[in-house]
């Protein structure tokens, strides 16, 4: 079971510069644990206090995971996962 995960520029320090890596998991939570096993430190950039960080967006097959179960969102072989930090700020 392989799922392609696209990594944003800011997190490529954890993937030796790779724009996309392969990972496994039946849920987003499991996938992130698998990412962490191979790219130590990346989990902390995605998750805070057991939930997805507010300003990190994760998409499964173009769907924002916030609308499809968050960390419990289910994954299957061949799915495409994209990680994108929000572009946001405020005065």
């Amino acid at each position: 079971m392989a799922i392609e995960v696209k990594i944003p520029t800011i997190l490529r320090t954890y993937t030796a510069g790779e724009k996309a890596v392969s990972a496994e998991g039946k849920t987003l939570s499991a996938l992130i644990d698998d990412l962490e096993a191979n790219h130590s430190g990346i989990k902390e950039r995605l998750i805070d206090n057991g939930d997805l960080r507010r300003f990190i967006n994760v998409y499964i097959n173009d769907e924002d995971v916030r609308f499809i179960g968050g960390l419990d969102a289910e994954l299957k072989d061949g799915d495409q996962v994209v990680v994108l930090p929000a572009v946001a700020g405020g005065c």
Binding site: T9, N57, D64, R66, V87, G89, G90, C91
Partner: protein, 146 residues
Amino acid sequence: MLTIDQATYDAIVAHAKRDHPDEACGIVAGPEGSDRPERFIEMINAAGSPTFYEFDSTDLLQLYKEMDANDEEPVIVYHSHTATEAYPSRTDIGLAMEPNAHYVLVSTRDCFTDGGNDDGPVEFRSFRIIDGNVTEEEISIVATLS
């Protein structure tokens, strides 16, 4: 230093004025590694707020997929401050996630006069924001990118 052409500069300022008093935001994309801001892309501020901006998450994905397909990256990430100076706020710094981008800030706080004119001065400044460190940079406005 940020080198930007006059038309793109004008487009950013016009967007900031149009969305005032809400914050305006967008990106100028360019070929990866080129440092050339070529393609101006206005984004909708999903927060619709005078004190906060955020790209809509669906629009954000669409934009990055498009840039990926074109081998582009965000060369400029811009937004406006409508009541404060054109300097990155603590929130701006904490959320700056594009280490290669020029962060352009436009302030429209002085550009609207009582009569409803919008021809007062606009502040336009550019910064690098890397690991929480802000460095202001010079801006060179050219007729067209060479």
